[in-house]
Every structure is written in structure tokens, then in C-alpha cells.
Symmetry: C2
Subunit: 342 residues, 2 copies
């Protein structure tokens, strides 16, 4: 049995789902993977709880952010640096929300964790958009591991396919439907609904965020594409390098016309190698029935990798709710700790 | 740079594609993965070529089976045992065709390779259907690795998803379209062709084997399902445990009726956990448009894993020709040699 400390930064929907999942999976982690994950710290922006010697953090399964901050063991001002220094290195799990331009504050915390000999996993797109290459390099230099499955589509295993399943093949281009909200809206528009009706339905079903601007303008898909493309093609492009066109009222007409012709409009994220450089775009595109992503409908996501020797490999589905993202973080931890090495 | 000996058993379509691929990928393997793979032996049923100290086997890129047997360096009667004893252990790559009931002769060769400290990769379904669990256990005991991506759908990364991407999740059931020939035939039948017309087209396009009996009767899909299910659920079921119903003349009517109702008939391979045991079946099934495998048409394949925490994850596509299978073997070698560890 391998006993490993886990320090969690972030107690929003994903962080709370992660805490619940750790408790729920304790027995199967021990039995199947020989892992005993000890949750030693839970942190949010205002502070957190650090477990003492020989104990885990108290049960937080029912708590929300206020519940954490109001807990008798909560230390105001407790920060990741202090926790990383005080605990024996294990896995630093991070799921706050940092902007893609700077990646802060997560970027600094991840760098510190890796340099102190911690493995790190993140569901936070910000630090990856800003400097995934630097973080991977920092992990290599420190002899630790760094994984970020949850940041490229929650439980959709897009990064795994690129890293493992296509080893030895040349990935020539990537196409993806990377945002569930816009795909849901487009699917409804293809069936005759207006943009407003479709978006209202997405809100009603909890698929769209209260403010869906980043989704409908294509920015969420653009960040995921950037992370995936930089990983696959070894570049350090920035979010400004992605040509982005989101949904607009005009898209509803296109969607109806496409449907009448047996086609579909999708918000297609695309990374294509051209002359040693990658062209990155997110924009509405017409797919015909033979396209590997044609059947990815509703709030589903999918990615296709086009390769030299393995043809086109498509992965789709995977829960995109907080529980799916938490499960992806847990998967990354299992892979980092080595119990499923190939 | 890691220099590793490779011994290849099997010089049919996949074996020859593997030899060509090794040559073609020499530079990218060195550059990206730090691997120098030295092809030291190529074997078929009648004998083979063993390279001497400090050399690789001579260039066989243009040779077929007769070319190998007629090569001046060919030693009649050279067998895997002799090669495995004489070379420094590296990777034993096996792509002959052994029956699923016994797995021989591949099973014995794989066991010997692993016990002598070689890693092993195989594209051969026979030894896996017979005793994949024993081979995985033998690898663990010897401290080596054993992978078999190419045996569950060539370049379709079904086993990777199960092993890596769903780590920590509970896989509750598996559904797959695992045979390209029958899927092609069913797709054509859904468009109004008769069984005979569709099969003739598959033959003409080189999709169906000259004798497609194992495909149309569902046996090829059954073996792939068995391998995947035993891997996922840790069982040692045998091929006789799979309930199999293949295509028949009657299926053409069903396919047309399904198409008229916006549905499709697929030869669905299915492994479902029920009461601590797995029910295995391959049979024609009606899928509606919401099924994750609905869009897997023509000669394509696909697998869906239904899980507790990650939802349904589907992977589809991947070249299923000899080059795709060879690429999957090469991927397995890269993963075994550790240059892409998570």
C-alpha cells in the first residue's frame, strides 16, 4: 500500500466533488490500486484546514465554501506555500479558476509545488493556457509528475489519447467539439429552435453557466484547444493566437439550412499543422454525416486526432459535470502514483 | 538514448508493415522518445534471420514471406526459443495467428519471452483469448511489461482507455462495434443492398477477408470482446462463454426496417456486469440515434465504456489495416520502454 498526502486548493463545485469522491473511492483505491490517499489540507482563497500529524482533514463531505470557512479548524490566511512546506510531498490538486492570460494565482502555486517535490494535478485551464510547457518542464526537472486531464474536457480523455494511445504516430491535425453548452444550443437550433430558446433551455437544464458569455463566444473552447494543441505539438502559443468566432444570431439560419441538407453546424475547434506551425481556430463549421464528430450532439464533447499511421481516432462523451472533472483529477493521481504504468 | 533489441515473430501483412514502420520511424523515435530500436531477429513458422553482434537484420522492407525464406541469411528451423536465449532481452513482438481455444503456438513463446526478462507485445488474439491474465501475471512476476493494443482493434485504443483513462472509475458495462467487415455490410444493408451485394462490395474493397466466415458469424468480434472484458473485469472467461449470433439473410430485412425508422442495426458486442459476473454477447442489435455508437459506420469500429463517475466514454476510428496494427504494436513498445510514462 502506498500512502500519499494530498493537498487540495479549490473548494468550489469541483473541489467539493473531489473531496466526496476521495471518501467514496477509499476502498477501491486501496483494493485495486494499492493507494491510500490522505487528504491533509483543503484550501480556498481565504485560508484552509491543515490536518495534524497522523490525521486527515475532518469530514467536509457536506460542506460548501461557507461551511469550510466557518469550520472550527479553518485557519484564515493559510496559504498553499505554508502547506507545501509543512507536509511531506505528495500530490497537490488544484481546481480554482485562473485567467488564461496570466494563469495566476494557480501558476505560482503549481510551480512551487513541483519545485518542492510534489506531483501536481489541475482542472484549472488558466495556468495551462499560460505556461503548460513550463510546468511540464518543471515537473521533469523535479522528477515529479504533472497531469491535467480535467482541464481539456473533464472526463473526456483527450490528453490521454494524445500522449499515450498515439505514441509513435504523427498527429497532423486536431478537430474538436470542446464546449458542451454551445453544442447543446447548436443541436437545438438544428431542430428549429431560435438561439434564445435554445440557450434558455441550456440554462434551465443547468448545462449553461448563469453567464454563458465565455462559452457562446467560443473562448472556453479556444482555451481547451490551446492546451491540447500546445501539448500535442510542443508549442507555447498563447490564447491570443487562436482565431475565434462564436455563435451569433446568424448561426441559427445556418443551422437550419444545414439540417435541411442532412448536415450539422458545430462549433469546431481546429489545430492544423501548416509549414512547421500550428493554425488554431474556433468557429462554426458545417459537418457532413461522414465526419467523425457528426454524431456528437447535445451537451456532449468529442475530439478527433488525424494521424499518419493510425488514421483518425475519435474520443467522445465523458461526464462534464463537477463529478466528472473530479474523477479525471483522481485518474491523474492514480496514473502519477504509478499503479497503472503501462 | 535507450537502445533495445527487438525480436519479431510473424512476417505476414502485419509483421511486414511493422518492419517497414520501424525503418520509417527511426528518426522520430530517436528524437521524440529517445529510443533506438534494433531489429535483431525476424522469425516465421519455418525459421528466420538472426542478426549478429553489432548489426541489425538486413533490410527486409521489400520482402514478402517467400523473400524472407529465400534470403541468404535465412536459417531454416531457427525458433523463438533460440533467439530469446541468444539475444540480450528487449522486446518480443508477436503477430502470428493462433487459435483462441489454445492460443498456441504463440502462448508458449510469449511465456518464454516474459520469463526470460523480455517485454512482449502482441497483435495476436489467440494467446489473449486463451490466457491474457496468465501472461499479464507472468510479466508482473518477471518485472517486465506486456501489452496487446493491436489485438482489440488495431489502432483503436480501446485497451488504453480501459486501463488508463478510466482509472479510478468503475466500468459497469462495455458495448462495442468491434468488426469492420460486418459493420460495413450492415451499413450497406441499411441503405437497401442485399447481404450478398454488401459482402461482395466489402470483398472488392479489400475490407473483407477472402473467407469472411469468422467475421460474419461474429467470432472475430467475440474474441475481441472477450479480451477486452477479461482485461477490464479481471476475469478469465473463455471464448465459449460468449453468446454469439452473427449476420444472416434475415438481418437485411431488419436493417431496412431499422433505417426506415431512423435507427440502425449494428453487430453489437456487449459485456455487462450482473451479480458479480459478466454476461458476454455478440449479436445484431437496433441502435437509435442517441446511442454513442450510432455514428460508427462503414468499416469503422468503436467501443463505449459505461462508468459510475465518468459517464459514457466512447472511442472510435483508428486504422484497422496492417499498418494500423503495426502502429499499435509500436505504440505499445514506446509505452513499455517508459518514455511516455504518465
Amino acid at each position: 500500500m502506498t500512502t500519499t498526502n494530498v493537498a487540495l486548493l479549490g473548494f468550489g463545485n469541483v473541489g467539493r466533488a473531489f473531496v466526496r469522491l476521495l471518501a467514496e473511492k477509499r476502498a477501491s483505491l486501496a483494493g485495486r490500486d494499492g493507494l491510500d490517499l490522505r487528504l491533509k489540507a483543503v484550501l480556498c482563497a481565504r485560508g484552509g484546514i491543515l490536518a495534524g500529524e497522523g490525521e486527515d482533514v475532518p469530514d467536509l463531505a457536506g460542506a460548501d465554501r461557507e461551511g469550510l470557512a466557518g469550520h472550527p479548524r479553518f485557519e484564515r490566511g493559510l496559504n498553499p506555500g505554508a502547506v507545501l512546506r509543512r507536509l511531506k510531498p505528495g500530490v497537490f490538486a488544484e481546481c480554482i479558476s485562473s485567467p488564461p492570460e496570466t494563469g495566476e494565482p494557480a501558476l505560482g502555486h503549481l510551480r512551487e509545488a513541483l519545485s518542492r517535490g510534489w506531483h501536481a494535478v489541475t482542472a484549472d485551464k488558466g495556468p495551462l493556457a499560460a505556461d503548460a510547457g513550463g510546468l511540464r518542464e518543471a515537473a521533469r526537472a523535479a522528477g515529479t509528475g504533472f497531469r491535467f486531464s480535467a482541464a481539456t474536457g473533464a472526463a473526456l480523455p483527450a490528453a490521454d489519447i494524445a500522449l499515450f494511445s498515439l505514441a509513435g504516430a504523427e498527429i497532423e491535425s486536431i478537430q474538436g467539439i470542446l464546449n458542451g453548452t454551445t453544442n447543446f444550443v447548436l443541436t437545438r437550433m438544428g431542430r428549429g429552435e431560435s438561439y434564445e430558446e435554445a440557450l434558455a433551455a441550456a440554462r434551465r437544464l443547468g448545462i449553461a453557466e448563469p453567464d454563458p458569455t465565455r462559452d457562446v463566444e467560443g473562448l472556453d473552447a479556444a482555451v481547451k484547444l490551446l492546451i491540447l494543441s500546445n501539448l500535442v505539438f510542443g508549442e507555447s502559443r498563447q490564447i491570443g493566437d487562436v482565431r475565434v468566432r462564436g455563435l451569433s444570431a446568424a448561426t441559427a439560419d445556418e443551422a437550419r439550412r444545414a439540417a435541411a441538407a442532412g448536415r450539422k453546424i458545430k462549433l469546431l475547434a481546429s489545430a492544423v499543422r501548416r509549414g512547421g506551425r500550428t493554425e488554431l481556430s474556433v468557429e462554426p463549421a458545417v459537418l457532413d454525416a461522414g465526419h467523425p464528430l457528426f454524431g456528437v450532439d447535445g451537451a456532449e464533447k468529442g475530439v478527433t486526432f488525424f494521424t499518419d499511421t493510425m488514421g483518425a481516432v475519435t474520443v467522445s462523451g465523458g461526464k462534464s459535470d463537477p463529478r466528472g472533472a473530479a474523477a479525471a483529477m483522481l485518474k491523474d493521481i492514480i496514473l502519477l502514483l504509478g499503479s497503472r504504468r503501462p
